[in-house]
Amino acid sequence: MWWKIAQKEFLLNLFSTRFNISLLLCLLLIPITIVVSLSDYNKRLNTYQVDKENAENALKTARVYTAVKPVLVFPPRPLSILCQGISNQIGHSVRIIIDEKPLLGEGSSNGRDNPLLMSFFYFDFVHILAILISLLALVFSYDLFSGEKENGTLKLVFSNSVSRSTVVAGKISGVFITLLPILALCYFISIIIILMSPQVSFSASDWLGVFILFISSFFFMALFIGIGILVSVKSNSSYNGIVVSFFVWLWFLFLWPNISVYASQSFVKIQMLDQLQQSLRVLIDEREKKIEELRKNLPGLGRFWCAAGGDDGYLEIVGSAFTAIDDQRKLQEKSVPLRLDYAQKKWHLQEAYLGKLERQERFARYLSFLSPSELFNHLCSVVCHTDAVADKKLIDQSRNYRDLLMNYFVQKKIFSSFIFFTPQPENQFYRTWDDLITFVTDGECKSWNDVNEWAKNHGGSSNVLYKVDYPQGKFSYYKPLDLSDLPKFSQSAMNINDSMPVVFIETGALLSLFIVLFSLIFNLCIRYDVR
């Protein structure tokens, strides 16, 4: 008999305007959302490929180890098409340098070329689904009992030899069999559009993720059906029911998440980023002073034939006197450990800052879990590996890789070697500047004084230094480094198995809420006053 009642509910819904509007909304919103997400994903994928190629080229062309600053570029996750999580808020690459441990991702991760477009409304599939399905669940359940009571049909139903539990089970099932095809249709449309895109390929783990998303969506929908039925049982009229349902919907989907963020910002205070940067600046100044002291004790540091450098520690020198180049080596030998030491000191400050950021995020997340929609959104971002924890894992891996790389450099004594900053072999250096000047001026000058004198007599020209071809004094003369034994960064593949503990806990939470809510509803419905 419950099936007959469920069929009746289904047919009544099927013939209703709300069903047609719901279907229309799904058919409009879901394809548009997926097409936009897909386009964003493809752009992010292109950006990733370009950045990856640039990073590889930069390593391939490095002639000295100061230029070896691997850039780790993380590919966008295919499931981010369905749930972007924080993946479009946080950079997708990390640069490994001596002076700093990676703190957060760098670079742009959003799929929009024009940053001004970021001000426009954007919701991914999971957000749209959460909004749509919760709304539909409430729309189809807010008057499940109160509506029939108003129509008088509930008394008519209960005047028959049918138990209350049968009626309740039938009515609830009717809402489920109405909404389940809509939910399945949303997923079906999305998957078809994704499959039609040649740039996207889902692994077996991704498909399992999609399945888990579907199951979670079902529980999420069930919770809102439960809330709608609860409202229907407790409200005096369907008009009151729709008002209460709408408020509940706004509360869970829009108000509570904002309240959670506000509360976490109020209760878990963090220092401002500017303050952190100021503290880091103090350390940097301290470090630079110490390096300057080292520099003072190395009088040989001076001119170079050809040199290039940058704030990021890059230094490349060719064509110099041995005295100068050796002083430079000594400077690097002493300054790099100092820089590593200060990177560690900076990391202590950054780690504390990061810890507070994470604490604040956790507080907001746990608080937001009082809303089923936030629980659902987080669960989806975990399944799609686009949550804060997945991002943290990547940065942790990058940090470990930096440690590995620095250890490798230390073990290979790279920092105390010439190859650290010059591609020129040691035996090719002239002993003194006078020897080098004599060679390049073809004996016309014997020292820098002679060069200066020559320049004075020739209107400030320094052409005398280029009388003889000196290819060793050009970067292009030297081959790139052989980095075949350089430790490689291996990003541990994001697998659904990694997320399983959280998935189990949060799906379990949704399921528990579902069981508690439906037990309560069943109990209330059994005692429902049908008059």
């Binding site: 008999m1 007959k4 009642i5 009746k8 047919l11 009544l12 013939f15 209703s16 108003e150 129509n151 008088g152 049909t153 008394k155 008519l156 139903v157 209960f158 005047s159 028959n160 030899s161 049918v162 138990s163 006053d529 049908v530 008059r531």
Partner: protein, 240 residues
């Protein structure tokens, strides 16, 4: 047969809605329960249908205690309420089909439904029309058809003529007379004293939850039912 023995209902706010009602409605009898609003008429029906639990006494349908065996007792009773909207998005036939199955008649055909609807005077073109387009009279006829289709030996009607035009009300009474001839026990709660005079075998007048008077057809013609009823109503107004 419908039977109430010392049937009492006191709500949680201690209001006494029904006070020791004892009546017996035999096969082929139409019993009209008259009374002002709040006299206890609808409470009586709610108790017979086990929508509420009695505070005392018992209601029996074909000898079955409705409190002890609610599902069993409901097999033997049909119900027609005031102003039933039905399922608006269903046609008249779909409404009948659903309630027939609910009432334990799963094997009825489309023709069976059509035949019953013809019997209550519904026009052919209305059979497959959505009920939300129906007038109140038409909806009430669908409600009555639902009761007829169940073919239960007892019928409870709660103000079925409220809001109906005289013609529709007269048709409804005719249908009740037909049902009475088939041996159904009919309990109808109403304010409509004129209909009561026309078709009731017995009339009971309720006041503040008490059945204050019962008259047979012969008695109420002798005693001038309208005058008695109006006197009771007058008393109610003065007491208020």
């Amino acid at each position: 047969m419908l039977e109430a023995i010392d049937l009492t209902k006191r709500y949680e706010d201690q209001e006494l809605a029904l006070d020791s009602l004892t009546i017996e409605i035999k096969e082929g009898e139409i019993f009209f329960l008259l009374g002002a609003n709040g006299a206890g008429k609808t409470t009586t029906i709610n108790l017979f249908l086990n929508f509420i639990e009695p505070s005392g006494g018992k209601a029996l349908i074909n000898g079955i205690d409705v409190t002890k065996e609610p599902l069993e007792s409901k097999k033997y009773v049909s119900y027609v309420s005031e102003n039933v909207m039905m399922y608006g998005n269903f046609s008249a036939r779909q409404n009948l089909d659903f309630f027939a199955k609910l009432g334990g008649k799963p094997n009825l055909t489309r023709d069976d439904y059509y035949m019953r609807m013809r019997e209550v005077g519904l026009q052919e073109e209305a059979f497959e029309k959505k009920v939300k387009t129906f007038s109140k009279g038409m909806r009430q006829k669908v409600g009555l058809t639902i009761a007829i289709i169940k073919d239960a030996p007892n019928i409870l009607l709660d103000e079925p003529t409220a809001g109906l035009d005289p013609k529709a009300a007269a048709e409804l009474m005719q249908i009740l007379l037909n049902l009475k001839r088939q041996g159904k026990s009919i309990l109808m709660c109403t304010h409509d004293i004129f209909r009561a005079k026309n078709i009731a075998d017995r009339v009971g007048i309720m006041k503040k939850g008490r059945l204050v008077m019962v008259r047979t057809r012969d008695e109420f013609f002798e005693d001038d039912l309208e005058k008695i009823y109006m006197d009771y109503m007058q008393e109610m107004i003065i007491e208020r």
